[in-house]
Every structure is written in structure tokens, then in C-alpha cells.
């Protein structure tokens, strides 16, 4: 079961801080980040890629689900 980070509704840069904290806890695998704006999709993607993870996202209507893999 992939770890899920719920960062919906949080101001900059809290979604990024939560994402980095989750990624730094593990050496690899899959982490799901749920955000509610494209801004945070881009921000969290950039933070994840900087740590060597790959990102893809899906629009779930009220929120975006970002899947991070390494």
C-alpha cells in the first residue's frame, strides 16, 4: 500500500514540505500526493524530481492525485 499524503487546501509551500518529508522517509517505491490545484501539482512534481522521483498525475475532479515513483 503506497503512502498517501493529503495536502489539499494547504498554502504554499506546505504541500511541498509534506511531499519532501514523505519521500525522504523512504528509499523508493510509490507515494501518492493529493492536492487541489495545478500549482501544487507542479510544485510537488518539481520537489519530487529534485529528489530523483518520477511524477504523473490524474485529475479526480475536486482534486489531483499525484503519483510519485522511484
Amino acid at each position: 500500500m503506497a503512502e498517501t499524503v493529503d495536502a489539499r487546501g494547504l498554502s504554499c509551500p506546505q504541500p511541498v514540505i509534506l511531499t519532501r518529508t514523505a519521500l525522504q522517509k523512504t528509499s523508493g517505491g510509490e507515494v501518492i500526493v493529493v492536492v487541489d490545484t495545478m500549482t501544487q501539482v507542479h510544485n510537488c512534481t518539481r520537489a519530487a524530481e529534485k529528489l530523483g522521483w518520477q511524477a504523473s498525475y490524474a485529475d479526480k475532479g475536486e482534486a489531483f492525485e499525484l503519483t510519485l515513483r522511484k
Binding site: P13, V16, D36, S56
Partner: protein, 362 residues
């Protein structure tokens, strides 16, 4: 599943937009806006407060169309790219207070972070103290964020709530265009400076057009002056800062071309050289903006996306501008020294009390 890529989110995208924004700002000054004030979210909001009669500083009263145009440009971008998402509920009253102190701090320095960069691009060496203060304030804010500071979540709300601020901005824009008098001139709103920086303005059509373009592009790229420094301090991410650097370079080059570059500490337009106040004012502003999640421009653009909390922050800025002038706390004025200390204490208390029990970062 999609890969989150688009031009505006790329490094090249934000640099190009930073260059465009810097060039446009210098051009607004060339066409009549006050010195090193092509665009300033703090000064222009303060001028709007004056036009509405919220303060009595006769030299800074003009309903600047750039601010509403910026918000509406962002609103159009948000609509066009399906990013208009009405949301609110993240400690609005605290954001109001942060907006007030961010504005008060910025007005001690005499400019928001955008203008700090423009002042530097125009040769105003006092801006260095302001930018250092801004960076220190942001660094303090980052420490609070690392300790788990949060204003809590916002939640989706109804369309009506998201449209409220764009509607207010439409009204402000119409007032700016038609400039109606609601009573005897000089005694009733709208007020309009006849001398001082408030009397200096680019042609209104240009101001509106540039405001719309800035709002549109900044919404797409998430251009943020405070975020630029914050992300470097937080995680050595230079993405947003590269946009701000491009903004500085473009404004500097255009200032040289327009012959509006004058280096030095003395005789700078709308500036003072009480160094510690330039530093302390922007330190207060930097901390306040960081805790609220972004620079004043970003807050205005977020209003266009339907962010009700950003709207409350902007109303806080408007109020802060009125308070700053009414209580003689602007620039190096008598009470500025007190308010930068009081403000740092108040915003510091907000920072400490806003920490969540869970540490969010190592």
C-alpha cells in the same frame, strides 16, 4: 495519468515571463508611473486606499487600475485554463492581520518586494537593505514552516464566493476608468492627488493592458517574489527565483534604455535612507508574506483563481495601508520604528501559535 508539463511551468517559461514582466514594469514608469514604481502591489494598494478616502495622505491618492487589472488578468487565465477553483476557510482573520502587517512593513520600506527589485533595477541602493531584510524575514518564516506552521486547510466553496473578489475588482476598475466624484472635489471620494507620486500615472489604457498581461502571465507561471527566496532557503530550488532574477535584469536593461537608471543612496524617488528601517520594514513584510503563502502580487493573482483567503489578505493590505498613513508609520516617519517592532512581535506570535503538533519537516 498525465505527466505534469507545460511551458509556463518550465524554467524557460518563468524566465521568459520574468523578462516580460520586468520590461513592462520599466515601461509603465517610462510612460508616467512614479519613479522605480512601474508596478508596486503595496504602493498601488495604498494609493487605492487613498482614492477611496481610507487615509488622508494627499500625495498618494489615485485609484490605480493596475491592481484590479492584475487580478482580472489572473481571473481570465484561471477561467481559460480551468483553474478557477473557489476555495476558502484557512484562518481568514489571521490572514487579514498578516496582510495588514505585511503592508505596514512594506510601507516602512516604501515598496513591496516587486518594487524592491524595481528600485534596485533603477539604481536605488537603499533597496539592498530592503531586499536583505526581506530575505531575513522569509528565512524566519521558513523556520516556522519547518516547525510545522500552518494556517490550516481551505475547502472548496460555492462559485459565488470565488467570484466575489473579481467582482470587487471590476467595480474598482470601472471607478478607475470613470473616476466619478461623490461630492465636492477634495472633500469626498474619489480622491485624486494633484501633486506627489499619486499624481504620476501612465496612460490608463496602457496601465490596464499591462495589468491584464501581468495578471495573466503571473497566474500561469505562479510568479512569486517571496516564493523565489523562500524556495531557495527551504530546498535550494531556484525555479521561482530565476523568474525574479529575470524580472530584475529586464527592468535594469530597460531602465538603461529609457535613461531612468540613477545609482546611489541619495535623492531616490519615493525612498528614504534610514537603513535599519528599510531592513526592519521588509523583514516584517517578508515574514508576514511567507506565513500567508506568497508575495502581494501572488495574493492578488490568487484572488483571481477564486481563493477567498487571499482576498481577505488583500483586504488586510488595504486596511494596513490606511492604518500606516493615519498613524504616521510610513517610511522613516516618527512611529515607523515602533510599528516594525510591534509587528515583528505580533507576527512572531502568530508564527509560534500556528505550529502544528506534528513536526512537518526535519
Amino acid at each position: 495519468m498525465k505527466n505534469p508539463r507545460d511551458f509556463f511551468a518550465s524554467r524557460v517559461g518563468i524566465i521568459v515571463v520574468g523578462l516580460v514582466l520586468g520590461g513592462l514594469a520599466a515601461t509603465l514608469q517610462w510612460k508616467g508611473n512614479p519613479g522605480n514604481m512601474g508596478i508596486c502591489m503595496a504602493c498601488f494598494t495604498r494609493d487605492i486606499a487613498g482614492a477611496l478616502g481610507l487615509h488622508r495622505a494627499g500625495v498618494v491618492q489615485y485609484l490605480r487600475p493596475e491592481i484590479p487589472a492584475c487580478c482580472l488578468g489572473a481571473f481570465l487565465a484561471a477561467l481559460a485554463f480551468r483553474e478557477f477553483r473557489p476555495r476558502t476557510g484557512s484562518a481568514p482573520v489571521v490572514r487579514f492581520v498578516l496582510g495588514m502587517f505585511a503592508m505596514i512593513g512594506a510601507l516602512v520600506f516604501l515598496g513591496c518586494p516587486w518594487r524592491a527589485v524595481l528600485r534596485l533595477a533603477g539604481g536605488d541602493a537603499n533597496a539592498i537593505l530592503g531586499i536583505v531584510g526581506l530575505a531575513v524575514g522569509i528565512a524566519i518564516g521558513v523556520q516556522f514552516l519547518k516547525m510545522g506552521f500552518s494556517l490550516g486547510r481551505s475547502y472548496p466553496t460555492r462559485t459565488l464566493a470565488g467570484l466575489a473578489m473579481p467582482f470587487v475588482m471590476v467595480v474598482l476598475l470601472l471607478l478607475a476608468i470613470f473616476y466619478p466624484q461623490f461630492g465636492a472635489e477634495g472633500k469626498a471620494a474619489l480622491f485624486r492627488s494633484t501633486k506627489g507620486p499619486g499624481a504620476l500615472a501612465a496612460p490608463i489604457v496602457l496601465s490596464i493592458l499591462v495589468g491584464l498581461i501581468i495578471g495573466f502571465l503571473a497566474q500561469r507561471t505562479r510568479f512569486c517574489t517571496v516564493g523565489g527566496i523562500r524556495d531557495v532557503v527551504l530546498m535550494r530550488d531556484f525555479h521561482l527565483l530565476s523568474g525574479v532574477a529575470a524580472f530584475l535584469v529586464a527592468a535594469f536593461v530597460m531602465n538603461l534604455i529609457y535613461r531612468q537608471f540613477h545609482a546611489g543612496f541619495e535623492g531616490q524617488p519615493a525612498a528614504h535612507n534610514t537603513h535599519w528601517l528599510n531592513f526592519a520594514g521588509m523583514r516584517l513584510a517578508g515574514l508576514s508574506f511567507t506565513l500567508a503563502g506568497g508575495c502581494p502580487g501572488r495574493q492578488v493573482f490568487l484572488c483571481g483563481e477564486g481563493d477567498g483567503d487571499a482576498a481577505v489578505f488583500v483586504f488586510g493590505m488595504l486596511t494596513g495601508a490606511a492604518v500606516a498613513h493615519n498613524f504616521v508609520m510610513v517610511g522613516a516617519a516618527a512611529n515607523a520604528a515602533y510599528i516594525v517592532v510591534i509587528g515583528l512581535i505580533v507576527v512572531g506570535v502568530i508564527g509560534f501559535m500556528g505550529r502544528e503538533k506534528l513536526a512537518l519537516a526535519r
